[in-house]
């Protein structure tokens, strides 16, 4: 009696379930896909209402920046010390002058401290623009040049209106 072996050359895989599953996966991942822009952080300090005895008080030169807004929260004016500043670009230019006079970005970045004094209603976006202008800039080669590292908030102003 001859033993009949199954004809292996004729075995056909049914690919349909696998393709079904793959398409299900694609649809799942497509629907759960959310393209999010990368996010970054800025470190800030805020003075505590009353300093305790052992707490170190900063001795770094303080640069006060005042940001005023209208009732709707739109930026009205920028002031650095007593000097009015036209724009955030101008603010960065002035900070670069200060840092440059103190021996270049590397040396002065750790020395100077900026205090942001903002109106209550000011939109937060302007604060980030100010922090960006103060923190540094990107040079022509795409490198980040650090200007001011220590940025802190002044005590919050009273609610307006």
């Amino acid at each position: 009696m001859k033993i009949k072996f199954p004809d292996v050359s004729r075995v056909v895989f049914d690919m349909t379930p696998m393709i079904d599953v793959c398409f299900q996966l694609i649809i799942f991942f497509m629907l759960s896909l959310r393209l999010v822009a990368p996010e970054g952080d800025f470190n800030v300090k805020m003075p505590i209402a009353s300093y305790s005895e052992g707490q170190a008080v900063s001795t770094a030169p303080m640069i006060p920046i005042r940001l005023r807004s209208d009732a709707a929260g739109k930026l009205v004016s920028i002031q650095m010390g007593q000097r009015p500043v036209k724009s955030f670009k101008d603010l960065r230019a002035q900070i670069r002058e200060i840092v440059g006079a103190a021996g270049g970005p590397g040396a002065a970045a750790a020395d100077n401290e900026v205090e942001l004094d903002c109106d209550y209603n000011l939109h937060f976006g302007y604060v980030i623009q100010a922090i960006t202008a103060l923190s540094g800039y990107i040079d022509s080669q795409g490198r980040v040049v650090q200007l001011i590292e220590k940025i802190k908030f002044a005590p919050p102003r009273k609610k307006e209106g």
């Binding site: 690919m15 696998m18 393709i19 793959c22 398409f23 996966l25 694609i26 991942f29 497509m30 759960s32 896909l33 959310r34 393209l35 999010v36 822009a37 990368p38 996010e39 970054g40 952080d41 800025f42 470190n43 800030v44 300090k45 805020m46 505590i48 209402a49 940001l67 929260g73 670009k89 960065r92 903002c118 109106d119 209550y120 209603n121 000011l122 939109h123 937060f124 976006g125 302007y126 604060v127 980030i128 623009q129 922090i131 960006t132 923190s135 540094g136 800039y137 990107i138 040079d139 022509s140 795409g142 980040v144 908030f153 919050p156 102003r157 609610k159």
Partner: protein
């Protein structure tokens, strides 16, 4: 005769599925890699301000509390919209959790503030003050990377 031959030829047509399966797997791998589970704490209600200096941190923060502040002045915390004043109780719970379960000081924990670009700065400062009352000391303001701005 001709008709019969055509029918027979049509029956023997076999599609080569290999390129389609290849593409399908490529797509599956692409979507798998782009899937980002870490965005679950990001609310689409918050439109972060943009900054060209905002770069993703090189290492993630170990102990962090994420507080999101909407343009209307509410704080989004664990899926609940709270008034800034009502934040004290959840912050105290967070402090307990850090100190008892993670065995760390609350002063070493970082509060990540994701505030809307139209949120009032005063509200952001009030939230920081509340966190300070509880004992938090480290704060970071989050911004979205702005890749459009040209270098100065």
């Amino acid at each position: 005769m001709l008709k019969f031959a055509q029918r027979r030829a049509a029956q023997n047509v076999a599609f080569d599925m290999t390129p389609m399966i290849d593409c399908t797997f490529q797509l599956v791998v692409f979507f798998l890699l782009t899937l980002n589970f870490s965005t679950e704490e990001q609310s689409e209600l918050i439109h972060l301000p943009q900054s060209e200096l905002a770069k993703p941190p090189e290492r993630s923060v170990d102990n962090s509390v994420v507080l999101q502040i909407t343009a209307r002045g509410q704080v989004l915390y664990n899926g609940d919209f709270l008034a800034p004043g009502a934040l004290l109780a959840p912050l105290n719970r967070e402090k307990e959790l850090i100190e008892t379960q993670k065995n760390q000081s609350v002063a070493n924990a970082t509060v990540i503030l994701r505030a809307d670009q139209d949120a009032k700065t005063g509200v952001v400062q009030e939230v920081i003050q509340l966190c300070q009352k509880v004992g938090f000391e480290k704060f970071v303001l989050r911004a979205k990377s702005d890749l459009r701005e040209k270098p100065s």
